[in-house]
Symmetry: D2
Subunit: 424 residues, 4 copies
């Protein structure tokens, strides 16, 4: 997909500058008592999953403006994911979305192996009707008033598990759009009971070594109430289901102003944090590229994760979940993976002993300054060095552009039509 020689040549042109920057940073960190190599090792060990649907151009309810060479199926999507991982070394897994990504499991495994990829959490879809679907999800799926519709949604989730087992996935993420658009439309309490019952049926079919993730979202597509509207409800669900049920936090699914890093800390305390959907947003669930709107907020989330990383049993599934409306999705995913990795490294840089000292003395000013000092450290040389050493690209976007990949696939992939939005 991406010629190894190209990567090597491009890296060669940047290597001397990188070495200089890396050394200068290393010296500066050493003065603070920080070993740059330890950080580079952490960067190298970090990975975040790519959602298969992220490789296509997203849209809004108003329109979708596709780009050139849109992937036409899961095999194309895996190719694109392979490119991202080849260039960043930071995206070793792909998360599938059923039914769109259905394919022969053997072929999926083979293709992934070829690309150096594995499979992350499976994602079911009951927020959209499929052409061959017997019952509509217009008024809900797992929480529908009609038992047969709920059963159809349960079976779809069980099928997702089955597919996942065949390809080596170990988790199922359940996000539904169920809710209501009018006060009164639904019984808030009974709708939740129906949801819990349906989730219990899915949980009963969960293999012993799997986890199920409950994902909350304050609104959209339902605009007055949403069954799993916040982390409190998600926590109740995970508690009700059992040990293998955990909560997944999507950074864009909260009310304005909400302090997400506190939710992270609380869910870890409850033993119920399962993972993340990374993205950024300014207004609603805008699904913008990670770290592009409020990079400090992303850092603060990772600050909690690093502070609490030794919590027994903590095992997080990191995934990107973005809608790429005006960029080449591959480029956005490359940059986003690097931004997430950046936040992780910056958080790893926090001088925690010093921080705790200030906290103990209620020295708010210096405690905050300690955190900011880590955030404002430009760790780009660390990220780039980790990539270089892994055989990936010092500057992944430049190499991607130089590779001509998009133009190449545009030749073989049919032109996508626009239309009025759509998430697939």
């Amino acid at each position: 997909m991406i010629d190894a020689n190209l990567i090597e040549a491009e890296n060669a042109a940047r290597q001397a500058d990188l070495a200089a920057d890396y050394d200068a940073l290393g010296a500066r960190l050493a003065r603070r008592g920080v070993d740059i190599e330890a950080l580079t090792a952490r960067a190298a060990g970090f990975g975040v999953a790519i959602p298969s649907w992220g490789t296509g151009t997203g849209g809004t309810r108003f329109a979708r403006f596709p780009g050139e060479g849109e992937p036409t199926g899961i095999m194309d999507k895996l190719d694109d994911c392979g490119v991202i991982h080849r260039l960043t070394g930071a995206t070793p897994r792909v998360s599938l979305h059923i039914p769109w990504d259905k394919a022969d499991p053997a072929l999926l495994r083979e293709k992934a192996e070829e690309l150096g990829l594995g499979f992350d959490a499976m994602n079911s879809n009951t927020f959209q009707d499929q052409p061959d679907q017997v019952r509509s999800y217009k008024f809900g799926s797992l929480s529908h008033t009609d038992a047969a519709t709920r059963q159809q949604a349960i079976e779809h989730n069980l099928e997702c598990i089955e597919i996942g087992q065949a390809i080596g996935s170990k988790a199922l993420t359940v996000w539904i759009g169920d809710g209501s658009n009018f006060p009164g439309q639904t019984s808030l309490s009974r709708q939740f009971e129906r949801y819990l019952d349906a989730m219990k049926a899915i949980y009963a079919g969960l293999p012993g070594d799997w986890r199920i993730f409950s994902e909350h979202k304050i609104y959209e597509p339902a605009f007055y109430s949403t069954v799993v509207q916040d982390w409190g409800t998600s926590l109740m669900i995970a508690q009700e289901l059992g040990d293998r049920a955990q909560c997944l936090v999507d950074l864009g699914h909260h009310a304005p102003n909400v302090n997400i890093e506190m939710i992270v800390a609380r869910l870890i305390r409850a033993g119920k944090l399962g993972g993340f959907h990374f993205n950024d947003s300014k207004y609603g669930d805008d699904d913008l590229d990670s770290g592009t709107i409020e990079p400090f907020r992303l850092f603060l989330v990772f600050n909690e994760l690093v502070e609490l990383e030794d919590t027994p049993g903590l095992n997080l599934a990191h995934m990107i979940d973005q809608s790429h409306n005006v960029t080449d999705p591959i480029e956005s995913l490359i940059v986003s993976a690097c931004e997430i990795q950046r936040a992780y490294v910056q958080a790893s840089l926090v001088d925690r002993a010093t921080l705790e000292g200030y906290r103990g003395e209620n020295d708010a000013l210096m405690a905050a300054a300690t955190l900011r000092a880590a955030f404002r450290t430009d760790v780009e040389p660390i990220l780039a060095m980790a990539r270089l050493r892994a055989g990936a690209a010092i500057d992944p976007v430049s190499v991607y552009r130089a590779s001509g990949y998009r133009a190449r696939v545009a030749l073989s992939r049919p032109k996508s039509t626009g239309g009025g939005g759509g998430i697939v």
Copy 2:
């Protein structure tokens, strides 16, 4: 469309109860010094326009779940609007959306006349690409960096005016989705200059007896910045263009917590309030049915309009703009028209002399109580009596359901497919 005999029969069954309720309310209002007949006359004189696109089922970026008998073109849409007006007597005009509603103007006029309808403001579309379109609006339309794209968008707006002239419209509403999804993507200042230049070109083509409405929206489909993001920018636009340029307020296009009734008062003061897009919302621009989420807020908007109704030159274009995702659009539009009319009548009920007395004494408690007393008055008998006298239905939804209209048109209109959202 709706049999007059059916309306009459249904009204007959409700007339005695209505008379009793109307008399009881009249007596109660008389005690407050209010003449119920004057209110009923105001109700009868009130009208709000229907957007042609509101007759179809809306959707979100996740999905669209169409209903039975969706209108397939502007003639179907006009039929549906005719039904709404026939039953409510409160929706005498239709607002068209180009290019979707393009048709022979003579036929449009004839059809509308037959249905007792007129045409309200024209609406252009440059937020979505059409199959035959030369240049894409992916990166903007009237504010695009490319002059030819801007020119294409200008010409589309001029065409909307031309069509509007042929059917008797007197205004053009311009709403664009232009903006950006990333900090840095666009120059906030130069993008605005380009927009202003394009609007001036459109304004130059505006007939002398027309108005142009600038409509602001805080976000969506652009998620980091939007060219016409708030009423302040909309005001600058209207000031820059000239006397026939005014601002249109869509109730759902504001930041959380914003006091919309203040914006109404300010724009009237500036001589720049042109009209409204009515809807309701809880989270973002949810486009829910008017008066269903925060009815008191709708009342407060009308409270300003009634308080300032004698402002010289005030001439408001009232239009509904909603997305009907889970209801029959005709029913939602019927109910919404009535809710908007209700707020107007409630606001007309405010004892303004008493209110001003309390305000003059800074008697906050009684001033507020005076407003609430009007709001909590159940004016349904007034609305129903206005409908009865106009030959419309006392209970429009019941009559609509009894008429079997939807099932009837479902026979002749082809089945709509779902798909991933879309506003058309």
Copy 3:
């Protein structure tokens, strides 16, 4: 305090009109199959507690503008509460705030009995330093880094229980301002552990027939993080402490746009809803008068309470918690009590069988209309009749004003000075 003859005379002047309105409403409700007497009985049975501090004029961080005759101590406050209950018949209990309301329990009981009042939940204060206090709460109280400060705060809460036992209270409400103003200032996780430990110490001292209420608040006085920031954290606290720990929902303590009625439904499902602090707000925790900003939202909260009122074990403590900055606090509390009662009666009016029918058919439009029909019914005659029959005032504010109470107490109570805000 308020002359019974005055009440009687004022009622006499309004009685005929009330009878006419009550009969007309009764007839209209009867047509819907609703017995007005049953509703009047429910209204009569409803009570909400008054917070002692609500009788004084509140303020902001910018200023406090006291009124005439401000209460100078708990006995004055009880007098004012007595007036409110005398006129509304709807506020039978008072909620005390320690240390401000400390007094000889025997005198408190005697005074309350004389006024026909009881005592509701006790409220501790660890968000402000008292003159004689050994350790400061500047950097927290129950979650402070310093063990001795935490112990001081624990002991204060235990003292509140002790005082409460002496006067017949059965609950303790714990709200603290602990949190941080800077990212990094405090460990979000360890601060929460310290809080939990402190609460366990208080819980250990809770009498067997008492409950402890955990109250969340998204922000203020802490502006970056708050220990008990949302209902999810409050739920974790209540679960951790035990059966007698429950959550208290203050309507003003949530992020923008949050759907509070869903939280109500969820906490009832978890068996953890303990009660409410009623108020209204537009922007932050504005503590405005109940039902004055978004009356429909208050109705929707009561809609959940009425729908779920038969839930086994449900036992709610209803309390007003408002800041009266520009009104006579007695008048605001009178009006607020009536607005809360109004929402309860409107919610009791919902035709639940019909509603469930529509919900079962996913008839969103008619389900919503059913709810709105109840909300827009003007139940004032029911509330007034309940007051009349209880010997309270048909029009409580008019009678209060006619009584000259405020001017009378202003003679004996020293003039209050303004100053820069303050909640006491």
Copy 4:
């Protein structure tokens, strides 16, 4: 105040490391074609004013927790401002608040000169009543219903101008808390007319070389409506008053999610941007330390200012406006001045030619990356070098702490009492 020898000694200990960091950064920037010396010169030329009230500990409506050695009057406050400027070299002016800072103008000038300080915009206060004040501002000031109260507020503002003239100020900032707490309490339109009339009276008294700044704020202390609620209203005011009237943007005074950098761009376009009140916030108008919550947002504001810095007539008054509740105010002001300067230097670093190239091609990804590349550059060596060369401190907070200043003034300044908040 701060011993020059101490500064020199502290700087000496850090100078070698700074030189190394500065050189490494210089080399890295040179590779991008950026001259570090040009940036250091810009940093050196940057200044932001200190508000006199910022030197005292702030509070909330719940409490105020004063620190040691609180300033007791304007002379103490000037001393504290002198310390800040001495250590940062970035705060050359002080902004006074009348009536609290009233003093003999000759003494003020003398004191300021001694400390190397000048005077920035004057600030009036009509949101709080003073002990000797004839009419109360409880129900408003410049927009009060009572003409005599408005006149009192006008005269206070004219007095502020008079004082300002005597000390060399050239601007008056008008911020008022006027508004309402209840829908209906006030006429939104007439209240605004009264405000405009009062402002015109003040404007009539404005010296020819002065400017008047109108400052908007969405809410607080008024909680339902605020007369100058947003920038649109502020723009109308500035337009109505005349050329010397401009708008001041306080970063914390907006609705949630609002894009402030767009407002900056719009007001510059309208020729009406006068200056800033810098601070940061997460929820409401939290008045937290600049750059501590969302540093990227601060950068984006400066990105507009730098992009548009050559706009003819642009002349900005930069001021900090924060409430320091849990830190030593001097330390917070030191850090905040540096953070604001940091954002300015980072924005100055943006490669604008490259950025414009990407924008012209709608290369959203690379345009955004260009901006972020500037933001993530750690410009601390530039700021520190600018300080060193100006004779200020490389590490101002360390030197401040080493100086023992706070403990020293605590000996001579009387202990402040806490109390319930207050802004003074």
